[in-house]
Amino acid sequence: EPEVTQTPSHQVTQMGQEVILRCVPISNHLYFYWYRQILGQKVEFLVSFYNNEISEKSEIFDDQFSVERPDGSNFTLKIRSTKLEDSAMYFCASSVFLGYEQYFGPGTRLTVT
């Protein structure tokens, strides 16, 4: 069964450093997403991406964040200058079309020290 994959599973970085989180969505899916879950809190939407551009983003997704589909399979989330409060589990997801169920990857735990 096809699945969303994410690398790395755990990333530790120092405050102010740039990080790139990587995802490989399910191959025939057209919509891609990033969510995050701060420890003990609810899962929050960050951004959705379709046809090589952002289709929607939340207020959390400020200028420090960017997304890219650098090739036909990868989908990345970049945080330019990490802050302590960026520490969270970051989930990538994909769906076939708008309004269809989203399939999540296993997550990348980002720890900013």
């Binding site: 994410q6 919509y31 997403y33 969510y35 809190q41 609810k42 899962v43 929050e44 939407f45 959705s48 289709s55 929607e56 939340s58 989930f91 997801a93 769906s95 708008l98 309004g99 169920e101 989203q102 399939y103 999540f104 990857g105 296993p106 997550g107």
Partner: protein, 114 residues
């Protein structure tokens, strides 16, 4: 705006007992409804969904949920739980139409005891 309320942060239950995990939502537009499960140290897995049609939906592992529009609820039930059902369960909604954004509740930890 939409919101999802899961009033129970934790539900302890004995093995083979029935369980209900509550989910209520608020929305001014129609929504799709989802239950996701997160097993320890794993990602989110789709458990079941309501998009349209029959208001009672079932999963392959014995869970069911019923969409109640008048009560704006989508409670999750299982008649007999197993130890392996121990996990965090998240209810989520997606407004129909212009967005693909999932809005999650705070989650309910189902703790099944022998």
């Amino acid at each position: 705006a939409q919101s999802v309320t899961q009033l129970d942060s934790q539900v302890p239950v004995f093995e083979e007992a029935p369980v209900e995990l509550r989910c209520n939502y608020s929305s001014s537009v129609s929504v799709y409804l989802f239950w996701y499960v997160q097993y320890p140290n794993q990602g989110l897995q789709l458990l079941l969904k309501y998009l349209s049609g029959s208001t009672l939906v079932e999963s392959i592992n014995g869970f069911e949920a019923e969409f109640n529009k008048s009560q704006t609820s989508f409670h999750l039930r299982k008649p007999s739980v197993h130890i392996s059902d121990t996990a965090e369960y998240f209810c989520a909604v997606m407004p129909v139409g212009a967005t693909n954004k999932l809005i999650f509740g705070t989650g309910t930890l189902l703790a099944v005891q022998p």
